[in-house]
Symmetry: C2
Subunit: 205 residues, 2 copies
């Protein structure tokens, strides 16, 4: 009996492509696909695959959230993240939320099979480029922001002044200013402009 595979991706072309790539493989059993988070969860209530290939971008919910949800309900399922870009932040978040591996969509058939086989053994699999991206910074590049800092950053990005933010969060202007200082330091920005740009690049806003 082969490894039972299910795929969640809202791109029909990708689903077809993966199916085509896996067709020749005797060791895998194609269970079907879902094109959004809701129907994925519905499917899982009926049957449980061994491995889910999960795209990070979905119409109704991000793959990152879906990943966490699925792992909470069905911890035994192995999830492999899928995406077009090697955005460090996405890969990191998927892995944090319990994914066992990550494949970029330019993966070859060999990588795909290697990924499936590796995670089935309980190990972690990252496709070549994904691994590089993670190694390059190892949480060093994207700084850890506190809850409050994220809130303040978001409001700054919306164009609010320290005064407005202070009122909104019921804290003093000087506190907002302090958070701001910390944000500048953490993101290594010298002013608001570079702060927001950095944050945008890191998918923080």
């Amino acid at each position: 009996m082969g490894t039972k595979i299910f795929i969640v991706d809202d791109h029909y072309m990708v689903i077809e492509g993966i199916r085509s790539l896996l067709q020749s493989e005797k060791s895998v059993e194609w269970m079907g696909h879902a094109m959004n988070a809701a129907s994925c969860l519905a499917f899982l209530q009926q049957q449980l695959p061994d491995v889910i290939l999960m795209d990070i971008s979905m119409p109704d919910k991000s793959g990152i959230d879906l990943c966490r949800e699925v792992k909470e309900r069905y911890p035994s399922v192995f999830i492999i993240g899928l995406s077009t870009f090697n955005q460090q932040s996405f890969i990191q978040k998927m892995m944090d939320n319990g994914a066992s591996g990550y494949l970029l969509k330019n993966a070859t058939q060999e990588e795909l099979m290697e990924g499936i086989n590796t995670v089935m053994k309980g190990k972690t699999y990252l496709s070549g480029e994904a691994a590089q991206v993670l190694r390059k910074n190892g949480t060093g590049n994207t700084p850890v922001l506190t809850r409050r800092e994220k809130e303040v950053l978001e409001l700054i990005a919306e164009g609010m002044t320290n005064n407005e933010i202070a009122q909104k969060l019921f804290i003093s202007i000087t506190t907002v200013d302090t958070h701001r200082k910390n944000l500048l330091a953490k993101l290594e920005a010298k002013n608001t402009a570079s702060l927001i740009r950095m944050a945008a690049q890191m998918q923080l806003i």
Copy 2:
């Protein structure tokens, strides 16, 4: 004789998917694929397809540039842009560079065939969502920035002050300030923070 199709995409899964979708179609002839801009151009020197399906993200060159290049050399070829996201700016730029159509990667087989057939007639084809995105703003959403404004915006995003920008561009501080005012007005931003965020969202930086 069917429509000769060539595909340029660096994602193997997508190439496989499209091939699988087109396999059953008698009216199309699969010419092959390229996984980067260079090998695409090399292929075109040997043979000329009727329609090229072209991804916007490529390792060596953006599909937007490749599109312009191919249309300059081989104006008779119809190009259909392909991408994962319905980023208004990308779609707009592809169309500006001579693409005849645009498909999102969640397109169905029907949409794919309709797209190919429509552009072969010399018409423009936009898949459902792509069309909506373009209609929604019709160049209204992304403002037109002048050469100088783009330069100044870029330098602001890099964290430079008006003073520094003035020195770099050999113009007066007050001129930089004027460009800045215009940028704020054009992007409907109330300060630097929202300016940079807007610019990031519109792929201006």
